[in-house]
């Protein structure tokens, strides 16, 4: 069958699953309320159905991609109907446009990679969840949300225009809200979910404005049309040419990038991601590691035509990426919550991807996205398995010595850790090293960023192995009772781990560096698949004016750095645990600061809580601090001050004025009455008075 024309079906399978779950789920999972009940057959149906839908989408995607490869121009667009229309709109260039966002799908090398990752990894995580969530309440709800998420994610990556992309964009945000808050009886979970949603909303505001500005400039929001417009000298023919100069493009790109920072947890909008760890672990794996958070990267890559023409923005992207990378890594160094370490690591890895985007090496960014999807998902699921084994314990200080108790988990995570650390031969090595090389070598490259990248690489290796060592090696720190009950996870959970491990190990071999010229070109399939599509200038020119020796050197350097990191970690956490504390004490403030995430949240809290405690008044005190933190991030206490001021204004000024008038009216009613003394002669007197005035009027004139 023709998969290419049925790509519009791909998102629909998960959607069907979601609808089924959310509306009939309760019947399928009657005692979904209680945890720990044996899996009934109908529940098994859920377990088959939901991963099944994702699998189907995966197969369709694979088929479509295969057929896409056979196309000459490797682009296929399917438009079902016009979704969001508009009325005539006079663009910046004076031409008329009409907003028309189709319900349309675009399959090209970029989106093909994404759908494969989303459906593939998504499927594995679904399978894993069957085991992991098996005993949780609201099983059906969980899978409903998960499928819904996949649906929106696929919309996001398959959309053929920015508006529809925005649908997916918001949709995944919603699902992340729902899934983070899945344990909605936990207040912290609810807060985290809301924080995530609202912070993303801030980014989305930027995104919307970006879309509008783009529409105002190009008169369209279709990727292909925008690219076409840009292909010819940057902007469409007609008067737009003058007006839509450089400034506008950088404005557009900047606004889009704000959206990206929100979704992909870049500085300064990254604080929601660590909190998001409140959600179930598979959620963290799927949404906050493999797929959703990479949407920002995808969007930037998707708009690469624009970003190329806006060097300022690209520079900003690179710098923000680098800064976020190192900031997050530094925090990860000292975290003790296993999932938080991974969360910060995710942030930092995303930073890498943006670095790549910033220097124009978009295919590398996507490459890293792809490898990262494997090993980060693996690590999350692994940690999930660990937590599962320890009955919910997340603090690494209470772990250790699990190596032999849960071997599969241990080995798979071992591989994952190697991969992320960038040990040659594993996926992480190829992608990260390519990023570093591009940052160093590309014409847009920035040396400072490169340095940051290398240091971050070292940190990465360190904290990741710190995690491994603290978890699996050394003496068990958990109490005997827990240790007694530690057990390997069921097959349904371990098999995905193994598959992901394989991916992390071998996934990189489709993108080996050109340097390894001894390998056939098939080992560079990824680059050949994406590079021509993603770059405007001729492929791989980057290497030319850099001696091969340099590249070897840098590669060695990064490997060395990684190994050092691992070594230090081993020394501190296996051989001489006591030195860890010693070092911590020695580092003193730095350590504490890092431990406390550089007090960024506290800084916000200070702004919101105290600032408002001072400025606020009782209404503000009653106001839940964390809500402000999450709720109105950024302008927190100003918001709350103004909003209480507004209420004050309402009650005292606006209403006050009204009340005052009515009061004066009522009041002035009494003099009128007092005049009415009841004495007839007083009335007569008033009449005569009136007469006097009347005659007086004659004299006056």
């Amino acid at each position: 069958m023709n998969f290419l024309d049925s790509i519009w079906l791909i998102p629909l399978f998960p959607l069907a699953g979601a609808v089924l779950m959310l509306f009939l789920g309760k019947r399928l999972d009657p005692q979904g309320g209680q945890a720990g009940t044996p899996i009934p057959p109908r529940k098994a149906l859920i377990s088959l159905l939901c991963p099944g839908t994702v699998l189907v989408s995966f197969l369709f995607s694979a088929g479509a991609v295969a057929q896409l490869a056979s196309l000459p121009e490797k682009v296929h667009e399917v438009v079902k109907f016009t979704w969001l229309t508009g009325l005539p709109f006079i663009t910046q260039g004076g031409t008329t446009a009409q907003f028309a966002a189709d319900w349309g799908f675009l399959l090209d090398p970029l989106s093909s990679v994404m759908i494969l990752v989303v459906t593939g990894v998504g499927f594995l995580i679904h399978v894993y969840s069957v085991g992991y969530m098996g005993h949780e309440g609201g099983y059906y709800r969980f899978f409903g949300y998960l499928n819904l998420f996949v649906f929106f994610m696929l919309m996001l990556v398959l959309a053929n225009n920015y508006a529809l992309m925005f649908v997916g964009w918001e949709g995944v945000g919603l699902c992340s809200y729902l899934l983070i808050g899945f344990y909605f009886h936990k207040k912290s979970a609810g807060d985290a979910g809301k924080k995530a949603f609202v912070v993303n909303r801030i980014g989305d505001a930027g995104f919307i404005l970006g879309i509008l500005l783009m529409f105002a400039v190009f008169g369209t929001v279709r990727f292909l049309d925008v690219n076409k417009a840009l292909a010819g000298g940057g902007v469409p023919s007609g008067p737009a040419a003058e007006t839509a100069g450089f400034g506008v493009l950088s404005a557009i790109t900047l606004l889009l990038f704000i959206g990206a920072t929100g979704k992909s947890a870049q500085f300064p909008l990254y604080t929601w991601l660590p909190d998001a760890m409140e959600g179930p672990t598979p959620v963290s794996a799927l949404i906050h590691a493999a797929t959703m958070v990479t949407a920002g990267v995808y969007m930037v890559a998707r708009s690469h035509h624009l970003f190329r023409l806006a060097p300022e923005t690209s520079m900003i992207v690179a710098v923000i990426g680098a800064f976020t990378a190192i900031l997050a890594a530094s925090i990860a160094l000292v975290q003790n919550d296993i999932k938080r370490v991974l969360a910060y690591s995710t942030i930092s890895q995303l930073g890498y991807m943006f670095m790549a985007c910033g220097v124009g090496a978009y295919w590398v960014a996507i490459f890293h996205l792809y490898t990262h999807a494997f090993f980060k998902a693996l690590l999350f699921l692994g940690s999930g398995s660990v937590i599962h084994a320890l009955g919910g314990e997340q603090d690494m200080r209470k772990m250790g010595g699990l190596k032999d108790k849960i071997p599969v988990t241990h080995w798979t995570m071992f591989v994952g850790a190697l991969a992320i650390a960038g040990i040659p031969g594993l996926a992480g090595f190829f992608s990260k090293d390519e990023i570093l090389w591009q940052v160093y070598s590309s014409p847009h490259g920035i040396k400072a960023v490169y340095i940051v990248g290398v240091i971050t690489a070292g940190m990465t290796a360190f904290y990741m192995w710190r995690l491994i060592f603290m978890t699996f090696y050394g003496a068990p720190r958990a109490d005997a009772h827990t240790m007694a009950h530690v057990h390997e996870s069921p097959k349904v959970m371990t098999i995905p781990l193994v598959l992901l491990a394989a991916g992390s190990a071998l996934g990189g071999w489709i993108g080996v560096p050109k340097l390894w010229s001894f390998l056939p070109e098939t080992f560079r399939a990824f680059e050949h698949w994406l590079e021509p599509y993603l770059s405007v200038e001729a492929a791989g020119h980057a290497a030319e004016h850099h001696a091969a020796s340099t590249e070897w050197l840098l590669m060695g350097l990064s490997v060395a750095v990684a190994l050092t990191g691992i070594a230090i970690a081993r020394r501190l956490y296996v051989q001489r645990p006591e030195q860890a504390e010693a070092l911590g004490r020695a580092a003193g403030p730095v350590y504490t600061w890092a431990l406390n995430k550089w007090y960024v949240d506290e800084a916000y809290d200070f702004l919101f809580v105290n600032g408002l405690g001072k400025g606020g008044g009782n209404a503000l005190v009653s106001f839940d601090n964390r809500v402000v933190d999450g709720g109105v991030n950024g302008a927190g206490w100003v918001t709350r001050l103004t909003s209480s001021l507004s209420i004050w204004w309402d009650t005292w000024i606006v209403d006050g004025a009204v009340r005052l008038t009515s009061f004066t009216v009522k009041l002035s009613s009494y003099p009128m009455r007092v005049l009415q003394t009841g004495s007839v002669q007083a009335y007569a007197l008033v009449m005569v008075l009136g007469a006097a005035v009347l005659f007086g009027y004659y004299l006056m004139r």
Partner: protein, 103 residues
């Protein structure tokens, strides 16, 4: 020394009488006397009418005056009737003592 009497004199006189009557209405407590003061006012009107009628050499004014007197009679009669009714209930005819109705 005595300059001739013009209509203006009569007007002035009637105005004065009008004001005296008004004063009575405003200041006297006894309602009967207030009614009398009103009679004064009407007489002021009559003086006017007669003066004009003489000045204009037509007797319409005098006829008008007759009607004014008639009206005065009628008002006086009804007024006194009402006064009697009032006096039956309140045992007083002091104007400033009847102030049930006010405000």
């Amino acid at each position: 020394m005595l300059h001739p009497i013009t209509t203006t004199h009569y007007l002035a006189l009637s105005a004065a009488l009008l004001l005296i009557g008004t004063m009575g209405v405003l200041a006297r407590r006894n309602i009967v006397i207030i009614l009398m003061s009103i009679e004064l006012i009407l007489n002021a009107v009559n003086i006017n009418l007669i003066a004009f009628s003489n000045h204009l050499r037509n007797v319409n004014g005098q006829v008008f005056a007759i009607f004014v007197i008639t009206a005065a009679v009628a008002e006086a009669a009804v007024g006194l009737g009402i006064l009697i009714a009032l006096f039956r209930n309140k045992e007083t005819l002091q104007a400033d003592e009847i102030d049930l109705l006010k405000w």
